[in-house]
């Protein structure tokens, strides 16, 4: 087991190294002079030269990549071209809203989607099942920003139950913080809920056909206990997997949701950076998000042995 954990952690290193290489070389894939592209149309030759030097574009690719990786390993993601602040500082200032939004969405999505999937599999083929699966298909197809504006229009503008946009830090109290996050989390969670509910249902259907489920029924066990203790526990490996993979959806969605609801998080930071072509920020945010994704999936992989004692490494 310990050996497996070490090997599994070691396996993420080449993946992250490739991600880093890819993110770094994006700058060189661009046609033409990247320094000129970043500087924009109104830049003077001096500006272009300054950007070229600050990004190290005047030096050889491999040397520059080595330096850049060395800095990253030491927690330095570079300096923003426009604000001259370290990228790590800028991300740290914006991380709270993003983490709050992702955490709330994750918790609520799992709390809604897993029971919905269990219910659908239990009543497979019934009206409830079809309604839940129908919602799942629609949830897959609704773009995050369309759901976002729809919710904002109904619940904030028309009914005035919740704030239209913005973010209140957690330090200002849990209730205002939470109120501001309900609509964004719902919009962001739709796709995620659909994905988890579908997978839960599929995994449960397979487990519910097993002999031990019939045995549990035969000995007179209650349906709730059968479903949630015997069946769900054995169906939870694919569910955990999809929760981990789905974090990619959350990360992509956070960028959009923060734009719709004007939340000053990391997503806004990167969208603003696109229009200014502030490349170190774009690189830094992509690296951080990719690392989050890789780490979460590492944890999911390692959790298999806890969920299912039959899995041994």
């Amino acid at each position: 087991m310990f050996g497996y954990v070490v090997r599994r952690i070691a396996a993420t290193i080449p993946v992250m190294a490739l991600v880093a290489l890819f993110v770094f070389s994006l700058l060189y894939i661009a046609p033409g002079d990247p320094a000129a592209v970043i500087a924009g149309d109104q830049a003077t030759p001096a500006d272009v030269e300054r950007i070229r030097q600050s990004l190290g574009l005047d030096r050889p690719f491999l040397i520059r990549f080595g330096e850049w990786s060395w800095h990253i390993v030491h927690g330095d993601l570079g300096t923003s071209i426009f604000t001259n602040l370290p990228v790590t500082t800028m991300i740290a200032q914006r991380i709270e809203p993003t983490l709050s939004l992702m955490a709330i969405t994750l918790v609520f999505a799992v709390l809604i989607a897993v029971p919905a999937g269990v219910l659908a599999s239990w009543k497979a083929g019934s009206l409830i099942d079809r309604a839940i699966m129908g919602f799942a298909v629609v949830g897959f197809s609704m773009p995050v920003f369309v759901v976002g504006y729809l919710l904002a229009y109904c619940f904030a503008l028309q009914l005035a139950w919740l704030p239209v946009q913005g973010y209140t830090p957690l330090s200002a109290g849990v209730q205002p913080w939470f109120k501001n996050l309900i609509l964004p989390a719902t919009a962001l969670g739709c796709v995620y809920i659909a994905l988890i509910a579908r997978t839960t249902r599929a995994a449960m259907l397979e487990v519910l056909q097993q002999d031990y489920i019939r045995a549990a029924r035969a000995k007179g066990m209650g349906e709730a206990a059968i479903l949630f203790i015997h069946a769900l526990k054995n169906a939870s490996v694919p569910v955990a997997t999809v929760i981990g993979i789905g974090v990619a959806l959350l990360i992509g969605g956070v960028v959009i949701t923060e734009t719709v609801y004007n939340i000053p998080g990391v997503g806004r930071l990167v969208v603003d950076a696109i229009s200014k072509r502030d490349y170190p920020i774009i690189q830094g945010v992509i690296l951080v998000f990719s690392a989050v994704y890789v780490i979460i999936n590492l944890l999911v992989d390692l959790s298999y042995t806890l969920i299912d004692p039959r899995i041994r490494y």
Partner: protein
Amino acid sequence: MTEASAFVEREIAPPPARARLGSWRYVKRHPSLVAGAVILGCFATLALIAPWLPGDPLTMTPSNRLLAPGRDFPFGTDALGRDVLARTIHGARVSLAVGFIVAGASVLIGLAIGLLAGAIRRADAPLMRLMDALMAIPAILLAIALISLTRASVTTVIIAITVPEIPRVVRLVRSVVLTVREQPYVEAAIAGGARLPKIILRHILPSTIPPLIVQATYICASAILTEATLSFLGAGSPPEIPSWGNMIAASRLYLARAPWTIFYPGIALALVVLAVNLLGDGLRDRLDPRLARRM
């Protein structure tokens, strides 16, 4: 068919009568396939004939700013006095073109890489690690990064959306190849002295096609969503081309005053993606019974 095989077929239980395409029974048996195909067909037709329809998506009439839906403008007008109905119809062109091209391109590229990874053992590990790395980068951020360094054009958008979709196809193809490779008929072909390219193309490739068709529809749906998202974030189709994403982005500030400027393109977008997803579910049920039971 020879007489002997015809005889055997009659002896075994008669095969279930196949519902004829277009018959009512076909609709009842494959509701999502038919619903998806019909909705998608309507949008595709509108997109094709858009230039000949009345209504101009580009003319700005300042005196007609933010008109509510009415007789002259069934979907109202936007902040620049442009016809929302005409823009919504024209928006289907970019969306569907991007969806189809991305689906085709990512399936072809992913198929080639997946066959290589599955058939040549030495290429497997490095190719799959590369795909893992590509998959670790969130698709939208990867696309944003690719676009942010080039001039905004539909071609860049297509490339930027295709790249993150490739690893998923590669994984699917590779998993099929790994299963098929162990089948007796492939062993027989190897024993018969067939060369590697022939084995791949004649004996392995055909098994990958049904799941790939299903995967292609899902990629199409996700590409349409990603294009709209990128345009919404200002990193997609250039503003002079009407696209559902940039229509919604341009109307962001008018949610309270003119919700129709956001909701009509939003509904169109959701409907098209829903249609493609339904089509995918229907195709999956028809082509891949193993998956159909599981989902």
